[in-house]
Amino acid sequence: MPQRVLKFSKTMPDSSIFVHGAISADDIANAIQRLSEFQNIGAHSIFIGQVRSDAIEDQIVSAIDYAAYKEMAEQKALELISETVQTYQLNTAMVQHSLGMVKSGEICLFVLTASRHRKSSLEACAYLVERIKKELPVWGKEILEKGGHIWKKNTE
């Protein structure tokens, strides 16, 4: 009988979680496509963060300019990914975050968790998103349409 349960690298030590500018829908399609090779995956949960054109004190946000303490963030992301994979017994998890300018309506965060069953992938996705928002040293500068900026706050 052929080997059906393929090994999937549980973390991605070679590749950065950061991409320059917005994350495209095509990048996301490619990530999803890649997982079809792994026939022991039954469920993927994906979270996508999109820049909102919030009105702040009557000013419209036209973009967010993201900066990170890069080395610390990469290290932390790997730690969070492998902890999540272990805790929820995932096949794999992926994280991508934008650096630099991302316009309103564009995607700045992509998180994917894949497992045999829906429950673990859904719970793992919510858990990983929460930890990313709280623990990754990344900052968003909200660029206002009429000039100036306001520092983004993660409130929820």
Partner: protein, 80 residues
């Protein structure tokens, strides 16, 4: 950088008050002393909340600084 100096990285809102590329200060023994000096040199930082990371780990109590360590000032994260 000279041995008796330390390099400090700053991010987010703090970069409205100090250079975003980071800055140097005279070497100090520990993070409590570091904070005092920062507030003397950059009074604008007093009203801002930030953590201090030493060699990429956030320190929650007064911490001894070694020569050549990497110090970063981290306001609340706002990624995603």
């Amino acid at each position: 950088m000279e041995k008796n100096r330390i390099k400090i990285l700053a991010f987010g809102q703090l970069t409205d008050h100090v250079a975003s590329s980071g800055f140097e200060m005279d070497f100090v023994q520990d993070t409590d002393t570091l904070k005092e000096r920062l507030y003397e040199n950059y009074p604008g930082l007093k009203n801002l909340h930030f953590s201090i990371a030493v060699d990429k780990k956030i320190v929650n109590s007064n911490t001894h600084l070694a020569a050549g360590c990497e110090i970063a000032l981290l306001p609340p994260f706002s990624g995603g």
